[in-house]
Every structure is written in structure tokens, then in C-alpha cells.
């Protein structure tokens, strides 16, 4: 996201804090789609995802005064969304530790490419491949899924992701690479 865009967001925040709620509505309209794209793929239930998307903005509005302008509004918003998703996993008694597990330096896909590696992706038309990736995402560990979605669906940079998750940059990159390799392996298994 460009710095000009970031400045526009900060101006909208300033206006909201001055009492112009319409300014916050503009922020909601601007970010409802990216937040829904992220939460929808994390919770896999449309109605729940819509509720959570609303909750993200309500929480953001409630704590807007604590927003520090030196950070980007998007990273702040995604952190709220991520915390909400973690709460959801915890309530469902699904171990959320994979969200915050310590850095696995060197745990990334530093593997060699096998000699007879099959070409899986090329087997499918693009639309079918997208459908299969969506299915494979459901089976991805949550820590990898979250970063994969942020990187490929939301278009966040590695630096932004590292800031949101408070993780080393190398760990974030490794997890994204790992996620892609897991998806490739899942596609291989299903084809």
C-alpha cells in the first residue's frame, strides 16, 4: 500500500476522532473486502466470517484512540482481525499455539527438489487449480494459512506480516514458503 494511501487513512482516523463517524464508514468500506477475504478463509463459515468482519471494525472504532500513527492502519486492523480469529480457535478448543509458536529458524522448505518431481499445477486449468488451492488451504496449519492468505490474497509485504505477528522476517518468509510447499504436496496427493 502506498504511503499516500496510508496518509489518507490517517486523515480519516483524525476526522473520526473529531466526531465525524462518516469518515470511519469510509474506512470500513475500504477495508471490509480484505478483512472478509482473510477471515472467511480462516474460519470457513460465511455467516461467522461476516460477524467477525463487523466485530473487527467495531473493535477498531472502540480503540481508535490507541492507534499510533507511526504504524499503518492496515497492519493494525489485521492484528485486530488475527486476535479475533485466535480467540475463536481458542474457544473452539483447537490449539491456537500454531499462531504464536516460536520461530522455527531453518524449519522452512530448505529441501532439495526431487529428481522425478511431478508437475502437479500444470495438470489443472487455472480455475480448477484455484478451487483445489482453496480446498488445500482448509488443511493447512493455521499459522501457515494465515500468512499465506495475507501474502497472496491480501497482498501484504513480509515486513508488514512480521510486524503484525511480531515475528522475525525470516520466520515469516519460511512459513509462507512452507505453506506453498504444503499446498503443492496436497495437490499432488489429490491428483
Amino acid at each position: 500500500m502506498s504511503s499516500m494511501n496510508g496518509e489518507k487513512d490517517k486523515e480519516l482516523i483524525r476526522r473520526t476522532l473529531r466526531g465525524e463517524t462518516q469518515a470511519f464508514e469510509l474506512l470500513v468500506r475500504k477495508y471490509q473486502q480484505p478483512i472478509m477475504n482473510y477471515i472467511g478463509r480462516m474460519v470457513r463459515d460465511r455467516e461467522m466470517a461476516l460477524d467477525f468482519t463487523q466485530d473487527v471494525f467495531v473493535r477498531a472504532y472502540a480503540s481508535l484512540r490507541s492507534f499510533e500513527p507511526k504504524y499503518k492502519f492496515t497492519t493494525w486492523l489485521f492484528r485486530i482481525a488475527s486476535n479475533l480469529v485466535i480467540d475463536h480457535w481458542r474457544k473452539k478448543k483447537i490449539p491456537a499455539l500454531s499462531f504464536s509458536e516460536p520461530a522455527e529458524e531453518g524449519g522452512g522448505p530448505a529441501l532439495d527438489v526431487p529428481d522425478n518431481e511431478a508437475s502437479v499445477a500444470r495438470k489443472f486449468e487455472l480455475a480448477e487449480l484455484r478451487r483445489r488451492i482453496e480446498k488445500a488451504l482448509e488443511r493447512l496449519p493455521v499459522s501457515q494459512r494465515e500468512l499465506f492468505v495475507w501474502r497472496h490474497v491480501n497482498g501484504l509485504t513480509y515486513e508488514e506480516m512480521a510486524e503484525i505477528k511480531n515475528l522475525p522476517l525470516g520466520t515469516v518468509k519460511n512459513r509462507v514458503y512452507q505453506a506453498k510447499e504444503t499446498i503443492r504436496r496436497l495437490l499432488e496427493e489429490s491428483s
Binding site: Q33, M36, Q54, P109, D112, A121, I133, H152, Y177
Partner: protein
């Protein structure tokens, strides 16, 4: 140069390598079909992932959010809302009763200033008295309960379980006998 590792392929595709390393890899790819295929495979997969469709967002989602934000009811707890509604209803009912009794609204308003002070004074005195009485009763009950508890604790530590059961049974029998005797004595028509 040896064949590429998976992490290196992704770093190459993301253009996240030093220029020299990137140039080395490009040279290697020209002569290694295995690595070339591995890179192409992951490039295609990444492109597909980058074009995953957006999830549908209802047109009124922003309105829903704004409605939740501007709703004043959400800031009050449920019990407080219920209390306010109940009190208001009671006040309204009293006013209706007074009005239906023939008093004019003007007379009520004129008398309100005077009577409210008297009501307030009286109710404060009664409230204070009631609180003092409740506090005294509470103290007595507390002292009795503590003594009873201590007595029972002492008995249970001093006596064996068999004796405790015997004592309990005897107490129960004594209470039942007392109750039956009193019933016989007090109720008319049952005397023989």
C-alpha cells in the same frame, strides 16, 4: 553450481535474492531442466494463488457496522437497562393513577416540589433505620452461625463417627417429638 533448494526457488520467484545470486541461478536454470521445471511449477502455483477470488461482502455490511457503532444501547449493561425501564414504567403508572384520581396536572406539579422533599426526607430516615436494623440482625445471625459451626466442628473432632450418628439421630427424634407434642397441645379439637 548445484541444483536449487525449494526455499531458494521461492526467494528467486519473489525477487528476494542478492543480484549476484540471482544471476547465478538464472545461468543455472538455462542448463538444468529439472530446476527449470521446479521453478515453473511453483511460478504457476503462485500465480494461481495470487488470483484467488474475493469472498462476497453484502452491500449493507458497512451500514451494519455503523449501526452497531452508533447504537447507544450497547454501552449500557442489560441489568441497568432493565432497571431504568422498570423504574420509568413505575413512575408512569403512578402518574396515571394520580391523574385518573381527579387531580389536575398543574396541581400535581405545584405540589411536587413540596411533597418530593417530604417523601425524600421520610424515605431517607426509614431507609437508614432499616439498614441499621438489618445490620444488627445480620451480626446476631453471623455470631450464632459461627458459634454453631464451631460447636459442630469441635464435636466432630472429639467424638467418633458412631457417636456422631447417634447424637444426630437423638436430636432428630427429640425435634420430632417436640413438634408432635406442640401440635397436640396447640391445635383445638385434637385433645383427648
Amino acid at each position: 553450481m548445484s541444483c536449487l533448494r525449494v526455499a531458494e526457488i521461492y526467494a528467486y520467484l519473489e525477487d528476494d535474492l542478492l543480484p549476484e545470486r540471482r544471476a547465478d541461478i538464472a545461468t543455472h536454470l538455462k542448463s538444468c531442466p529439472k530446476c527449470r521445471q521446479a521453478v515453473e511449477e511453483r511460478r504457476y502455483l503462485t500465480e494461481a494463488a495470487l488470483s484467488l477470488p474475493a469472498l462476497e461482502v453484502p452491500a449493507d455490511l458497512a451500514h451494519r457496522v455503523m449501526a452497531r457503532i452508533s447504537s447507544p444501547a450497547s454501552s449500557l449493561p442489560v441489568w441497568l437497562t432493565a432497571f431504568i425501564v422498570g423504574l420509568s414504567s413505575l413512575g408512569l403508572l403512578c402518574l396515571l393513577l394520580i391523574l385518573s384520581g381527579g387531580k389536575s396536572a398543574f396541581a400535581i406539579l405545584a405540589g411536587f416540589n413540596h411533597s418530593i422533599l417530604i417523601y425524600l426526607k421520610n424515605s431517607t430516615v426509614w431507609l437508614a433505620k432499616a439498614m441499621a436494623l438489618l445490620a444488627s440482625v445480620g451480626k446476631v445471625i453471623q455470631t450464632l452461625a459461627v458459634a454453631l459451626f464451631k460447636g459442630i466442628s469441635l464435636l466432630t473432632t472429639l467424638t467418633s463417627p458412631g457417636v456422631q450418628i447417634l447424637a444426630l439421630t437423638m436430636t432428630l427424634v427429640a425435634f420430632i417429638s417436640l413438634y408432635l407434642a406442640l401440635k397436640k397441645k396447640l391445635l383445638p379439637g385434637e385433645k383427648t
